[in-house]
């Protein structure tokens, strides 16, 4: 079996991830941050280690400014709804995933003003087009680091510099890049960074979070939920300090144990090596698909300008049929359709039919890519 759905959830994981999770369940298991017995203390220490691991890989200013949640959708909701108030203006791009655009459309109903900057047909965004949209009430630029449809990278560092120049904040969706492309919160001028654990960070599903930079006044931010934090229990009001102000309820200790192992594995392999591997295979895939008559490949066709996600179609065959037949006849697992990003498909001209998407990981090989190209070539030969 060849697994090429890594842009949705990475698989397989490094073996150390499941081992760490089993170890947590067998030997720690208790509630982090509550009670004071030795297992609760161990669980609390593990959660802190998870904060440190996340802070290190993103060069975050402070491990305690990381708010854990169950995925990046929750984190982006927290960032957007926590920061934006009626009358504020926010700018986003036309390549966003629904996890960004749906909360923004919801906020629009309550008086938040929204501008969507159009990307080109390859998914590229011009920073000057973003700057041109800035108004006196612009509070936030909320943007993806890389398209989940075509992988095209967005120049977040340049956009972040524009934000600093105009004294506004930048929220970045790193779902497609975290763990496979270097991200430095400080160098890249990121104020709010949403991440998810279950893709290239190699962790389990149910892990993610929002990192709140030091330019953000957390006292002006609204939490998504309130509840138990294990701190200031005598008060009926939510604590004022991070992460407790935004992070209520029992955390996913077992998931965070896996996430630590995933991040440690990335550090051990080396992010540069992972990026190099992904680029080689991505270019191999793009070049191979471009050789196939009737195959349309979207995006920049340049692995250096994108993540390891490649979208294509076979002219005359629905993406759903391609996906089903790759699974049943060629043992290749991928994703088809709109990939929860209808606006991105409108931008690249594939709405409403969508595309077939291959998402490559560090565990894929040259041979996987060769066989995937042969499979697409085989299917395309059936079209007369």
């Amino acid at each position: 079996m060849i697994y090429l759905d890594n842009a949705a959830t990475s698989w397989p994981k490094p073996p150390s991830v499941a081992e760490a999770m089993t170890d947590f369940m067998d030997h720690i298991g208790a509630n982090p941050g509550r009670a004071g017995h030795r297992l609760a203390v161990k669980a609390g220490q593990l959660v802190y280690l998870a904060r440190e691991a996340v802070a290190e890989i993103f060069h975050a200013p402070d491990p305690l400014r990381i708010v854990f949640g169950y995925n990046i959708t929750e984190s982006l909701n927290l960032g957007l709804k926590g920061i934006l108030n009626p009358g504020d203006h926010v700018i986003t791009s036309s390549m966003e995933h629904n996890s960004m655009i749906r909360p923004l459309r919801e906020l629009q109903k309550y008086g938040v003003e929204l501008s969507i900057v159009k990307c080109d047909v390859e998914g590229r965004l011009s920073p000057s087009d973003v700057e041109a949209q800035i108004r006196s009430n612009t509070k936030l630029i909320a943007i993806t680091h890389a398209s989940n449809v075509v992988g095209t990278l967005i120049p977040i560092r340049d956009i972040g510099a524009i934000c600093r120049k105009h004294d506004i904040l930048m929220l970045v969706d790193t779902a497609q890049s975290a763990g496979s492309y270097p991200i430095d919160m400080q160098r890249d001028n990121i104020d709010l960074l949403g991440f998810t654990g279950h893709k290239s960070l190699c962790g389990p599903t149910g892990t993610g979070g929002l990192i709140i930079g030091e330019r953000v006044d957390e006292k002006q931010m609204k939490p998504l939920i309130q509840g138990g934090t294990g701190s200031y229990s005598e008060h009926e009001e939510q604590p004022f300090f991070l992460p407790d102000a935004m992070e209520s309820g029992t955390l996913n200790g077992v998931g965070l144990a896996g996430l630590i192992a995933g991040i440690e594995w990335i550090q051990k392999e080396g992010l540069d090596n992972i990026r190099h591997h992904d680029m080689m295979l991505t270019q191999q895939l793009i070049n191979g698909l471009l050789q196939i008559p009737k195959c349309i490949v979207y995006g920049t066709h340049d692995a250096r300008k994108q993540t390891s996600t490649v979208s294509f179609n076979i002219k005359g065959m629905a993406s759903s049929e391609v996906g089903l037949r790759l699974d049943e006849e060629y043992d290749i697992l991928c994703r088809i359709g709109l990939h929860c990003a209808p606006m991105a498909h409108k931008t690249i001209g594939t709405f409403p039919n969508g595309t077939v998407r291959f998402g490559i990981s560090y565990f894929n090989t040259n041979d996987d890519i060769k066989r995937a190209i042969e499979a697409v070539a085989g299917l395309s030969q059936e079209i007369t």
């Binding site: 509550r34 802190y48 604590p239 407790d244």
Partner: protein, 76 residues
């Protein structure tokens, strides 16, 4: 002073307790995270227990690390 005399450092939360413990241990100060004694606070969280002999050093180290404290209590 007896080695069994302890002082409690109250911090915001268990996350801050872990951080305080890391900072103090790095400086060679012996610590233990324990449930907050009920006579000090009704908080359900944990605090950092140190030897009373180490209090001055500990407070200085934590102050230099900008770690906010909610209180310092000697245990009888």
């Amino acid at each position: 002073m007896s080695e069994h005399q302890y002082t409690i450092l109250l911090v915001y939360s268990s996350s801050y307790a872990v951080r305080a413990e890391k900072i103090l241990r790095k400086e060679g100060i012996d610590t233990k995270m324990i449930p907050i004694p009920r006579h000090i606070s009704s908080n359900c969280g944990v605090c950092v227990r140190i030897h009373t002999d180490d209090v001055n050093d500990a407070l200085e180290v934590l102050d230099n690390s900008n770690l906010p404290l909610d209180g310092v209590y000697n245990l009888d």
